[in-house]
Symmetry: C2
Subunit: 332 residues, 2 copies
DNA sequence: CTGAAAGCGCTTACAG
DNA sequence: CTGAAAGCGCTTACAG
């Protein structure tokens, strides 16, 4: 491998000068600079970024710890995060939730000297939150947040749950099923609170046989959907805690030969882009245009470049918007 | 930051010994080893992987250069690639096609000392291909390949194009439109060849007014679909070169109030998982079960760990399977 | 504007 | 089984 020492020798200068033309070209005389530049080209020299990182203690790399791409929401955030990071000259190391324990990912990240961390994968009372704060590495959580404190950008999930439930109530639905993910996660915890709030304001409540907390994978959603629709008195509307779950739910409903919304109304939360496809037309509530991924990445990079104080956390809450499409209808 | 020197001091041993308990614990006496281990825990020591990489010349990191996640095909490969890499102890640096020039990505990768490269983003006559080979970095291409040579895993795209076209011909369609991506990319080049082959075997050919080569983004697909359906004599079937394009095409057809397949048949290529959703039911041809992403990652890691010879390239061609769903029907 | 020297935090022969 | 020394390829004061 050709090193800056080789370039220096060929150009007849010192290694320091080679380093300068790389990092502060204005500080070296044009004639010298050109000699160095030519030697670099001649030897097709590529500076060893590892060596540079060791001394500068910066890698221009961020880590993204995200929920699975089988959830279209994370496809969108992953896409915008990586694109934004790239445009700002950062590389992105991607980790999927569940493939490794958060604690191991985090230990590895410390050794790797990433400049910042973006994560969606944190539970309400996650013990890792303290460690992350203690590590002093700039971080930004998105979509989910710990019970209190920290830097994050999230949807107003309580309001989202409330709005979408009220929409179903307004259509005359009384038997509303709610399929949720585990409530040790802020999104599911808060969305459920919103659902309950809207129901109680309507003088009713979440009925135990219509409320299911499950793993969010398509198979489990399908199973519980079949169970619901096979009840002696099935729900007239099903609300899923995410659009990704609503897609799986829709798949199961249609597989039964039932029609949406004629036989059962269906709604989701997140308003991901596939929801607007003409073959889907899912009623949902979300924040599509606010670009949560970009907000997260932008704030993180600002913290990396301009410093941050733990005393002034960045807490951004996006307002949800109801988007009524074709999967919800008046109760017959 | 606490370094191995601090650990050594606290444990009363040399830095070499600290390094040994990390890399070859069996070679150090249990008593000594425990003293070191305790010191590490006490100081909550995390070895600096950057420093290690500088001397071992290995980063346990691979780079993935992939097409956009707005194409569901790449969602699936990205997901399986990162999961497989993680399970083998590799980190994954992700780059999206288009966000940076391939040449810049590649220059950056050299400096970063990634252990291997996985890329879908290469054109038939891409000048970068020579550079990649010359760099000696293990690499594996997937989905697309250069005109000749190299390590890759691809679908038999010609056969795929042929099979799906024959399916449409068998249903009695004669006015078959074909919407393709740029043919300087192997997938589109070969799929088109397959389409032409099937048509010519049926005594017909690709008619210029029904053949469109466009950028694969949804907006352009929708535009060309509208143009097609507004012809005085519209096609009775539309074939899209990828499922992702077919989804956009479907969206446009449905927005016109037309029914699929009653008014027009629609088919794609890739057989991505969303194609089987009951609200979509897209007829397609692909290799779903062969897990292209995993094959690519597995081969790359094998090359990294056991070496590779440019004289024996790894060239894997997956056989396509036709999956007839609900979007294609007999010509009326 | 440029060079010599030290140092970033590891690993790796080498010697004992 | 363990330690002292050198070195990986850069950058960064410091001096001139």
């Amino acid at each position: 491998m050709v090193s800056s020492k080789d370039v220096a020798k060929m150009a007849g200068v010192s290694q320091s000068t080679v380093s300068r033309v790389l990092n502060n070209p204005a500080s070296v005389k044009p004639v010298t600079r050109n000699k160095v530049l030519n030697a670099m080209k001649e030897l097709s020299y590529h500076p060893n970024l590892i060596a540079r990182s060791l001394v500068t203690n910066s890698t221009r790399t961020i880590a993204l710890i995200t929920g699975t791409l089988y959830n279209g929401f994370f496809v969108e955030t992953t896409n915008s995060i990586i694109n934004l990071a790239t445009s700002r000259g950062f590389k992105t190391l991607v980790y999927f939730e569940g493939a490794m324990k958060l604690r191991d990912v985090f230990d590895s990240l410390r050794g790797q000297k990433v400049d910042g961390i973006l994560l969606s994968s944190i539970t309400l009372d996650d013990p890792m939150f303290e460690e992350i704060k203690r590590s002093q590495i700039p971080y930004m959580m998105f979509n989910r947040r710990p019970r209190d404190g920290g830097n994050y950008v999230v949807l107003d999930n309580l309001l989202a749950g409330e709005i979408i439930t009220r929409h179903l109530l307004d259509l005359g639905h009384q038997r509303i099923a709610y399929i949720s993910g585990e409530t040790n996660v802020s999104t599911f915890f808060e969305r459920k609170l919103g659902v309950q709030k809207a129901l109680s304001e309507a003088g009713t409540s979440l009925q135990p046989e219509l409320f299911h907390v499950i793993d969010t994978n398509p198979t489990d959603v399908e199973k519980v959907t079949l169970k619901l629709m096979h009840m002696s008195q099935p729900p007239t509307a099903i609300l899923c805690a995410t659009d990704a779950m609503a897609f799986a739910c829709m798949d199961a409903i249609l597989s039964l030969g039932l029609r949406i919304p004629d036989d059962v109304s269906l709604a989701g939360i997140d308003d991901i882009s596939m929801a607007s496809h003409h073959a889907i037309q899912l009623t949902s509530v979300g924040h599509h245009k606010f670009r949560m991924g970009e907000i997260a990445a932008e704030n993180l990079i600002e913290m990396i470049e301009h410093g941050f104080s733990p005393d002034h956390p960045r807490q951004i809450v996006l307002q949800p918007e109801l988007v009524i499409r074709k999967t919800t209808g008046r109760k017959k």
